[in-house]
Symmetry: C2
Subunit: 366 residues, 2 copies
């Protein structure tokens, strides 16, 4: 049976870069690599404009029944004034929560061809390859109470709640340890256990799980503020980093900017394995945002979106050889000098679709 993909182009540059992902998926189907069936939905501002919500019930149902969801990007100033519950981000947050996508994998890789695009000195980032494992369905993003209360006298109180339970910490730490075993076998766990009780529990649970099931992996603990510093100082000291939803949001953005390759970085958000079918729900999306300022101009870099398809091939469909081939096509095209505007450093540029086409042409050679 064909694999079912739900495509959610979203807002801003989303549709443009999704078009390049679609070309790749169509080619893989046509080439007989695997049969993919695609459907399309709306999320974010696009869904709000069409339905008045950040994602419709119909599209949520499609997401639930898909083998994988590809999402491009949501948000933009156009929707700055919409009610909180239907703001573009709410669509993304509902997808994460309702699909149970607790494990967000964010590779921060410095592409050799782009070493000079980093703000950091080249020797600090050359060869950089970090995997940030961010908890994605818990913490301050979803804890209750989460509200603004009017106290009278012109005073209001805003409250958010950071909550973690043992099982949530265990399952994300397990993902990190398993990944580390396939990489350099090192995990750095990060929290603020010196000021947060949830951080203290985080540290306890990770430490206990490590002793019980993963003592072959090297485990370090680093406070989130120190980790932020160390990412800037000596990023190559890290292999796998595991942290909570909020710290993961911030630290993975810092890490991805360090690489100089922001427009190139994909991410995977994975659920747990279904006990009956062995399948896991999954959503793949670029780390970068919807870049409304350059939308519709053919300037966007499609590589993070294409890389998101590659992560789907790898993590949802086990098509490792194909995934490797696409990764190689991307690297070859970059090595040949092709650049979209974000990575051109003032040199010659190609458009979004030219980059997508070039990668496909390179892939067809193999």
């Amino acid at each position: 049976a064909a694999y079912k993909l739900l495509l959610l182009p979203g807002d801003g540059i989303g549709p443009e870069i999704m078009a390049e992902a679609e070309k790749l998926v169509a080619f893989l189907s046509a080439a007989g690599v695997a049969a993919f069936e695609t459907e399309k939905g709306l999320v974010g501002g696009a869904a709000y404009d069409a339905h008045g919500v950040a994602i419709s019930e119909g599209d949520m149902a499609l997401a639930q029944s898909a083998d994988a969801v590809l999402l491009a990007a949501v948000g933009g100033p156009k929707w700055d004034g919409v009610p909180y519950d239907v703001r573009p981000e709410a669509g993304l947050l509902r997808l994460r929560k309702d699909l149970g996508l607790f494990a967000n994998l964010r590779p921060a890789i410095c592409y050799p061809a782009l070493v000079d695009a980093s703000s950091l000195k080249p020797d600090l980032v050359d060869g950089l390859d970090i995997m940030i494992v961010r908890e994605l369905t818990g913490g301050v993003y979803f804890g209750e109470p989460k509200e603004i209360t009017d106290l009278g006298n012109g005073q209001k109180r805003g409250v958010d709640t950071q909550v973690y339970e043992t099982y949530e910490i265990e399952r994300i730490a397990r993902v990190a340890f398993e990944l580390a075993r396939k990489r350099s076998n090192r995990v750095t766990s990060s929290e603020k256990s010196n000021v947060m009780k949830s951080g203290l529990l985080w540290r306890e649970v990770v430490t206990a799980l490590h002793a019980r099931d993963y003592s072959d992996v090297k485990l370090d603990h680093m406070l989130a503020d120190s980790l932020g510093m160390q990412l800037v100082r000596r990023p190559k000291q890290f292999d796998v980093i595991v942290t909570d939803n909020l710290f993961g949001d911030l630290l993975s953005d810092v890490a991805s900017m360090l690489t100089g390759s922001l427009g190139m970085l994909p991410s995977a958000s994975l659920g747990g394995e279904d006990a009956a079918t062995g399948k896991r729900k999954a959503l793949y999306e670029p780390v970068h945002g919807s870049a409304p300022d350059i939308a519709g101009k053919g300037l966007a870099n499609p590589i993070a979106m294409i890389g998101s398809v590659v992560m789907a091939l790898r993590y949802s469909f086990g098509l490792t050889a194909v995934a490797d081939a696409v990764d190689k096509a991307i690297a070859d095209v970059l090595a040949a000098g092709l650049r979209t505007a974000d990575i051109a450093a003032g040199g010659a540029t190609v458009s979004t679709s030219e980059m997508g086409d070039a990668i496909l042409a390179e892939l067809k050679k193999t």
Copy 2:
């Protein structure tokens, strides 16, 4: 009457660098610049070892009656196992909370002599001068509930609560706007209003205060994850940044590491003005930590500690000319090539006390 200073050397390299601050204070008194009376207390691990608490009631009373507190650093692996409530950090947190020190000023400055010590490319940090204004007595650091609950079945739940009320946001934003008026007149306010209700309130309150009292200052809002990215990408775009306790912790650490001058950066934590006396409580401390690995070896850089005295001269005592003179002495000593190990980049080094003495000698010339 003499100004009363409470000195809290704390742990690790704390006593060594505090000794250099004491020399400066003694010199200023002897030179008749101002009369300072100093007392000494214990905080952090040192207080725990002596009294079984992170700061004694006696020392808290001294802090309450001091015109300013100078603190060096707290913490170290020696106290990793002590109960949560008396861990070294608890002393610092109690000082901040009980003295009402809601405004934490963290300058991130790149010293010209140290441009090459930054991980970032020189042109990105040359001339960097950011002031981070961090809220210090609210947010997730102090909100209740803050607890770990045993749920049975081997499951626990860790909870922390992020709370901000209108007045807390207003008073810290006011500090930021006032500072901006004396600098480049730009404030960037940062939160995660796209996922946090406290962030949404933060943004509302800052926007309203700006419109009401500070419309001459340029105000931007930037999500905390984007701000982390932009700090790495183009740090010089910022002037004053105002943010909450937790984001401020992380972002100010990233910013200070960018400068390549971590051992050089002081900070000020200020309370509100007393309505009757016009005085404000204040604590001054380096941004760096207690560096237990190099403690007792004379390797620590005393400049952040000496700079903390300078901030006290400026913000608590209005001794601007003296403060400028000490700052100039520091810059001159650096320009003359003196380096402690942390900033030596492999070159010749001086010890903690040699650096302190050199700055004092330079100051005596003026």
